[in-house]
Every structure is written in structure tokens, then in C-alpha cells.
């Protein structure tokens, strides 16, 4: 009985410790970024890695998401003769939800995991300790550029995803399913407002912050050799994805 209580208590304490360490890590990062900006060269390198290298995967997921959305909503709407609203549905879903969420999930899988693995490897091979010894602030040198890159690049990727999603929906709706193109475009423009797109971009920036911060944190505090690096990578991807979906609900509740 006591053993069970002890186990439970240790779990809770461990969890609380984790939250505290994450918060301290973020506070360090903010303090470091505020004190002096990191080297631009490093930021651009990370932006290229997080942003540019993710374009192909984001375009692919965006296009096919838009296409399948058009297809699915077409079969639903056809039952009561509202095919003309397919464009509205696709554009609204892409701008408000699927664009930001799918983009950041793809970036998590591609870049978040890589960040955790890279920093984890640096940690277990004591490169980070070496940096500290050389009086280079590892947070300023390694973490801040990555988080800045996530914050700035994920919204850009989200815009691209929105656009290719709507384009894919148009292709399926108008070219394959034969909805009148004028009606399709008119309804899309009529019911989607600019605020929908902007709110989606704010979400994307939040998700970019979450996924890079989690990746950095998990890598930065990895321990236990190659096995520890692998675990850190997995944990980073799972935690970031879950946090993205949970925060998505609250962000949506606040925004609309």
C-alpha cells in the first residue's frame, strides 16, 4: 500500500519537476534572446532547415488534404443539393484548422525530431559541456536560433499549405466533379474572411514555438547514451504533437 502511494507520489513529483524544468528552460531562452540577438547566420541556417526543407512535404500534405476534403464534402453535400458550398468548406477548414495543424505536425515529424536528435547527440557526446567550458552560452548558440526559426517559418509554411489546399480542392471540385467554377470561387470568397486566415497564422506561430521548444528541451536534457538520444527523439515528437492538438482546441476557443 505504502509502496503504491510512494510510486504515485514519485510520478507526480517527477511530472511537476518536468513542468518546472521546461518552464525554466523557456525562461532561460527568453532571457538569452532578450539580452542579445543570436548570430543571424545561425538563425538563417535553422530557418532553412526548418522551413525551406519542409516545403515539399507541406505542399504534398496540403494539396492532398484539400483534395480529399473536396471529395468527401462533395458526397455529403450532394445529398441535399449544396455542392456549391464545397469550396467554402475546403477553404474554411484549410484556413482555420487543417493548414496550421497539419503543417506543424509535419514539421514536428521532420524538424522537431531532428532537433531533438541533434541536441541529444551533442549532449551525450559532451559537446554542449564543451561549449559551456569555452564560455559559449549553449542556449544562445543552439536553442534560440531553432526556436526563432520555428516561430517564423511555420506560419509561412501554413500560408503555402492553405493555398495549395484550396487549389487542390478547386481541382477536384471543378475539374473532376464538375461543380461550376464561378459558383465555387464566388462562394469561397463570400464566406471566408481574412480574419480566418490570420487566426490560422497566429495558431501556426504558436505551434512553431511549441514544436521547436519541445524538441530543444528534450534533446538538451537527454541522457544515457545512444539509447537516451532515441528516447528523447520519440518523446519530443509525441509530446509536441499532443501539445499542438491540445493547444489548438484552446486557441480556437479563444479566437472564435
Amino acid at each position: 500500500m505504502t509502496a503504491l502511494l510512494e510510486l504515485f507520489g514519485r510520478l507526480v513529483v517527477g511530472w511537476i519537476e518536468e513542468v518546472g524544468r521546461t518552464s525554466l528552460f523557456l525562461a532561460d531562452t527568453v532571457r538569452s534572446a532578450a539580452r542579445s540577438l543570436p548570430r543571424l547566420r545561425l538563425v538563417f541556417q535553422q530557418m532553412e532547415f526548418v522551413g525551406v526543407r519542409s516545403v515539399s512535404v507541406v505542399v504534398l500534405t496540403g494539396t492532398f488534404t484539400g483534395m480529399v476534403l473536396a471529395l468527401q464534402s462533395y458526397y455529403g453535400f450532394r445529398k441535399f443539393g449544396a455542392e456549391s458550398l464545397v469550396g467554402t468548406t475546403v477553404a474554411l477548414s484549410m484556413a482555420r484548422e487543417l493548414g496550421p495543424v497539419l503543417t506543424s505536425l509535419m514539421v514536428t515529424a521532420r524538424a522537431g525530431s531532428a532537433i531533438a536528435a541533434e541536441l541529444g547527440t551533442m549532449r551525450v557526446t559532451e559537446q554542449i559541456d564543451a561549449l559551456t567550458v569555452m564560455a559559449v552560452d549553449p542556449i544562445r548558440y543552439l536553442v534560440v536560433p531553432r526556436i526563432l526559426a520555428g516561430l517564423l517559418m511555420v506560419p509561412v509554411l501554413c500560408v503555402i499549405s492553405d493555398f495549395v489546399g484550396v487549389a487542390g480542392g478547386y481541382f477536384v471540385g471543378v475539374k473532376l466533379l464538375g461543380i461550376n467554377s464561378g459558383v465555387y470561387v464566388a462562394n469561397t470568397i463570400k464566406y471566408v474572411e481574412l480574419m480566418d486566415v490570420f487566426n490560422g497564422l497566429v495558431k501556426a506561430a504558436c505551434f512553431g514555438l511549441i514544436l521547436t521548444a519541445i524538441g530543444c528541451y528534450k534533446g538538451f536534457y537527454a541522457s544515457g547514451g545512444a539509447h537516451g538520444v532515441g528516447r528523447a527523439t520519440t518523446e519530443a515528437v509525441v509530446l509536441a504533437s499532443v501539445l499542438i492538438l491540445i493547444s489548438d482546441y484552446f486557441l480556437t476557443a479563444i479566437m472564435y
Binding site: Q45, G51, P155, V156, V159, F163, E193
Partner: protein, 560 residues
């Protein structure tokens, strides 16, 4: 191209993202019609069920604006519609609530009327007939089908039963029998019938002959008889009352006569005896003489009257006075007659409806005029500009009257320190040592003075053209409104006749960052060759419309 730097790749990606975002903004942003534009009208409906704000307003299927607000006003729906500028609707336009298709969204339809007057900002649109509501349609269809069902049920009761069917068959058979019988009768008696008819015709012909032969005599006899009875009837009717009265009077008279005769007899007896006054009168001589004298005096007075002596006499005998009196009465009568017949001014006033109608029209006209004046928009403003080079202030006070959305009159009073700049040439003659020389002196004079601006302006969307008099000289100007009327760029050209110098050109910008207050700045007279070019900064106030309307309304109320 070898290898792109990370910066270049990131730059390309960000550029692509920004371009896509701008593209989407332009596409989606086009929707947002600025609420500042257009003009508002009010529509009151019994029900606005299903209508949402920003719903479309259509005229003949074309979108002309949107529903701005939906509110409740004394149990009815009050819709504030915003109609785009440039869409002119007659004042007798009616509006109603309609639906796209059966399940579609609601919109407001306006049906333009034929009035020459156009709707202005704040006017009210009449509610049209409510369209066929689906619920109402269904309920009336239910009623109709119930009625139809009842009728068919009754019919089924009458004809549907075997008994009813038998009845029907009997009826038809009976009809057929009757027809057959009738035909048989006619066939059997055809000859007799024909004979009877021929006899009848003969008889009537003879009677006709008889009457025709003696028509004259018959007619006369009848006429005489009628006249005689008529007269008799008339005589009796006319004299019936007289006759009756006469008989009654006669009866009374005979009664009184009897009484009188008896009294006379008694009096005569007493007089003869010399009793009482009458008796004494009859016996006394003196009294008789007095009586005779009085009678003769009376006769002489009458004679004088007859000759027209004295006032009374004159009155009685003067023909002229009598004539005048009669004339006056006749005139009076003719005047009242004329009035009665509607002749002359008063007569027309009294009798002619058109005067009353004219008066009504005139009053309505005055009402319209005053109402129209109330609908005008007014703007009153003041601004000061500091001319930097010259180091002096130039002030303006203006009144803008806007009878219609797109047209206005602009009056301005300008206090210009630079005022009138002109070259005065003075020729003086000087006599020196016996020689006379003419000296020509040129002087550039600048006078501070008031100037006037009076212009007519017309607005085309966000471009306004003005023309007329600018600062007491012919001029024209153009304004361009940007940022939903918060920024205004103005170009003015005036004072063309500045002997040899180019016209006065002025370029300015104005920023309305508050409702009443704005900042201004620009270049003044920038192509001048005499060094009068300047730049300026300034600020101004302006009051529009409602604030002023309430100021003016007491005067309007008095006029009403």
C-alpha cells in the same frame, strides 16, 4: 548557379509566403465594403425571420448594398440598410423580405417606384407585400384539401351507395319517359294545333284593323274624359278648406250678430234716457264743438304733410331719398347675388375650390421646401495654415451646403496675409532747371485683405471636382479621398490673370485623424517665379450635418 546560401533560400520561401498571403487578402478583402460609404435607408417589416446582419439587398437581382443593423421597433422589425453610392432609388421604392430558393438564405428585395425624387440618407422605404411564406402556403393548402375531401365525401354518400345509384338510374329513366310522351302528344295533335294557331292569328289581325280605323276618335274621347275629371278633382281639392272655413265663420258670425243686436238695443235705450257718458255726449253741445275743432286741426296737419312741409313731410314726399334708399338695397342685393354666383374676387374666394386647392399646394410647397432644407447636409469649418517662408498665418472659414450626396456648394472667407500682390507703376513729372522729366517708378505692393471663395462641386466616387471662384478669382480644384475619407489630397489652380506670371497652384494633403479635427500641409504657389513659393502646415476644425441641423432646426420650426 552553384549553391544558394541559406539566406537566399529562406528569403525565397518567405517571399512566396508573403505573396500568397497578399493574394488571398486581396481576394477575400474585396468583400468588406466599408461601412462609411453609401447611404442608409430604413425599412420596417412585420417580421424579419431568418434575416442576418450583412444580408444582401438586391434590386432586380443585383446586389446594391447590405443590411447593416436589425432592431426591434414597437413590435416590428426595423432594418437599417446601407445602399452603395451611385445607386439611385426613387422615393416610392418598396422593400420586402425574400428567400433564395426554398431553403436558401434570406435577403431584402427593393422594387423601385416611379417617383422623380430619389431616396436620400436616412429616408424610410415602405414595406411591400409580404412574399408567399412557405408555412402560410402549406397551411392554406391543407385547408383547401380538407374542403375538397368533404365535398367528395358528400358526393360519395349520395351516389356511392347502391340506393343512390338506383335513384339516379330512376331519375334518368323518368326523364326519358317524359320526353317520349311529350313527343307523342305533339305528333298526334299537330294538325289541330296548327289550325288553332291560324285562327288566333286571324282574330288578332281583325281586332287590329278595328282599332286602327277608329284610333282618332277613340283617342279624343279618352283625352276629353281625362281632362274633365282632372278639372273637377282640382276644383274640389282647391276649395275644400275654404268652403269648410266659410261655413264655420258664418256660423260664428250669425251668433255674434244676435248678441250685438241685443246690446245695441240696450245701449240705445239708455242713451235715449241721457244716462252715462254716451247719453251725456249725445245731449251736450260743447263737446260736439270741441270735437269739430280737433277734427279741423287734424285736417290742416295732414294737408301740410301732404305739401311736404316739415321734416316728416319731406321724408314722406322727397322722391330722391326714397330712390337712394331703394338703390342701396338693390346694390346690396346685387352684391350678395354676385358673391353667391361666384363672380368677382370675393365671390371666387368664397365659391371657387381651386383657390383653396392652390392655397393648399402653396402651403405644401413651402413644407417641401423647408423639409428639403432640412435634408441638406451642412458643414461648417475653420482652418489656419502657417506659411513657413513667409512666417505668417493664413486663415479660412467655410460653409459647405450639400443638397445631394454628390453635389455641394462651398463658400469660404479667406484672411490672406499675402493678399493682393501687384506691381504699381507711378509716373511722376519733375520740373528741374526748367526741364520737365517723367520718372517711372515701379513698386510691388502686398496688401492684407479678405478674399472670397465660392464654388460648386461634384463628387465622382472618391474624386471631387470643384469650380468657380477661389480667393476672389476664377479657379478650379480637384480632391482625391483616400483611406475611407481619412486622407484627402487637393490640387487647386486659380488666379490665372497675374500679368505674365503663371497661375497660383496649390497642392495640399489633409489628414482627418479625429472626427472634428484635421491636420493639413502642402505646397503653395509652387511654380511662382517671384519667390512667393511657400510650404505650409496647419490644422482645422469642421462640424458636419447633425450638429448643425439641430442648430438650424429652431428656425425651421418657426417657419413651419
Amino acid at each position: 548557379m552553384n549553391r544558394m546560401t541559406p539566406e537566399a533560400r529562406v528569403g525565397l520561401l518567405v517571399l512566396a509566403g508573403v505573396l500568397l498571403l497578399v493574394f488571398m487578402s486581396l481576394k477575400l478583402g474585396k468583400l468588406e465594403i466599408g461601412s462609411g460609404g453609401g447611404y442608409g435607408v430604413i425599412l420596417r417589416l412585420d417580421s424579419a425571420v431568418g434575416l442576418v446582419p450583412d444580408a444582401e439587398v438586391l434590386v432586380a437581382g443585383i446586389s446594391v448594398g447590405k443590411v447593416e443593423r436589425i432592431g426591434l421597433d414597437g413590435g416590428r422589425a426595423r432594418l437599417a440598410l446601407r445602399i452603395r453610392d451611385g445607386v439611385e432609388l426613387p422615393a416610392d421604392t418598396v422593400g420586402s423580405l425574400r428567400t433564395h430558393g426554398v431553403l436558401g438564405e434570406k435577403y431584402v428585395e427593393l422594387v423601385p417606384g416611379r417617383s422623380a425624387r430619389m431616396l436620400a440618407d436616412g429616408d424610410e422605404v415602405a414595406a411591400g407585400t409580404p412574399p408567399g411564406d412557405l408555412d402560410r402556403l402549406v397551411s392554406s393548402l391543407t385547408d383547401i384539401s380538407a374542403d375538397v375531401k368533404r365535398i367528395t365525401e358528400r358526393l360519395a354518400n349520395v351516389f356511392g351507395t347502391p340506393e343512390g345509384e338506383q335513384n339516379l338510374r330512376d331519375l334518368v329513366e323518368g326523364l326519358r319517359d317524359t320526353a317520349v310522351g311529350l313527343r307523342a302528344v305533339v305528333t298526334e295533335n299537330r294538325a289541330a294545333l296548327r289550325e288553332t294557331i291560324a285562327n288566333l292569328r286571324l282574330l288578332s289581325a281583325e281586332l287590329g284593323d278595328l282599332v286602327a280605323g277608329n284610333r282618332q276618335a277613340l283617342e279624343e274621347t279618352l283625352e276629353n274624359t281625362r281632362r274633365l275629371t282632372g278639372r273637377l278633382d282640382q276644383v274640389v281639392a282647391e276649395n275644400r278648406d275654404d268652403l269648410r272655413t266659410t261655413m264655420a265663420n258664418l256660423r260664428v258670425a250669425t251668433g255674434q250678430l244676435t248678441e250685438t243686436l241685443s246690446s245695441v238695443r240696450a245701449v240705445a235705450a239708455r242713451a235715449e234716457a241721457g244716462e252715462g257718458t254716451l247719453g251725456k255726449l249725445l245731449q251736450d253741445d260743447g263737446l260736439y264743438q270741441d270735437l269739430e275743432g280737433t277734427v279741423s286741426d287734424l285736417r290742416s296737419v295732414l294737408a301740410r304733410l301732404e305739401r311736404g312741409e316739415g321734416t316728416l313731410g319731406k321724408l314722406m314726399t322727397d322722391e330722391q331719398a326714397y330712390d337712394e334708399l331703394r338703390q342701396s338695397l338693390a346694390n346690396l342685393s346685387s352684391i350678395s347675388g354676385k358673391i353667391d354666383r361666384g363672380e368677382g374676387t370675393i365671390g371666387k374666394l368664397v365659391n371657387d375650390d381651386s383657390v383653396h386647392e392652390n392655397l393648399n399646394d402653396t402651403l405644401e410647397g413651402i413644407g417641401d421646401f423647408v423639409g428639403g432644407a432640412l435634408k441638406f447636409r451642412y458643414e461648417l469649418g475653420f482652418r489656419s495654415e502657417y506659411l513657413a517662408e513667409q512666417g505668417d498665418w493664413k486663415s479660412y472659414a467655410h460653409l459647405k451646403i450639400q443638397p445631394r450626396q454628390d453635389r455641394f456648394y462651398y463658400l469660404e472667407l479667406v484672411d490672406d496675409p499675402q493678399g493682393d500682390t501687384e506691381t504699381e507703376t507711378t509716373v511722376r513729372t519733375i520740373t528741374e532747371n526748367g526741364q520737365t522729366r517723367a520718372i517711372t517708378e515701379e513698386e510691388t505692393v502686398t496688401r492684407d485683405r479678405f478674399k472670397f471663395t465660392a464654388m460648386v462641386g461634384k463628387q465622382f466616387s472618391n474624386l471631387t471636382l470643384r469650380g468657380g471662384m477661389i480667393e476672389t478669382s476664377a479657379g478650379a480644384a480637384a480632391d482625391l479621398d483616400l483611406w475611407s475619407d481619412r486622407m484627402r489630397l487637393t490640387f487647386e489652380a486659380f488666379d490665372f490673370g497675374r500679368d505674365g506670371h503663371p497661375p497660383h497652384l496649390k497642392l495640399s494633403a489633409r489628414w482627418h485623424f479625429l472626427k472634428f479635427f484635421y491636420l493639413t500641409g502642402g505646397l503653395d504657389d509652387f511654380i511662382d517665379t517671384r519667390g512667393l513659393s511657400d510650404y505650409f502646415l496647419g490644422a482645422g476644425l469642421r462640424f458636419q450635418d447633425d450638429d448643425l441641423k439641430y442648430l438650424l432646426s429652431p428656425a425651421v420650426n418657426l417657419a413651419n
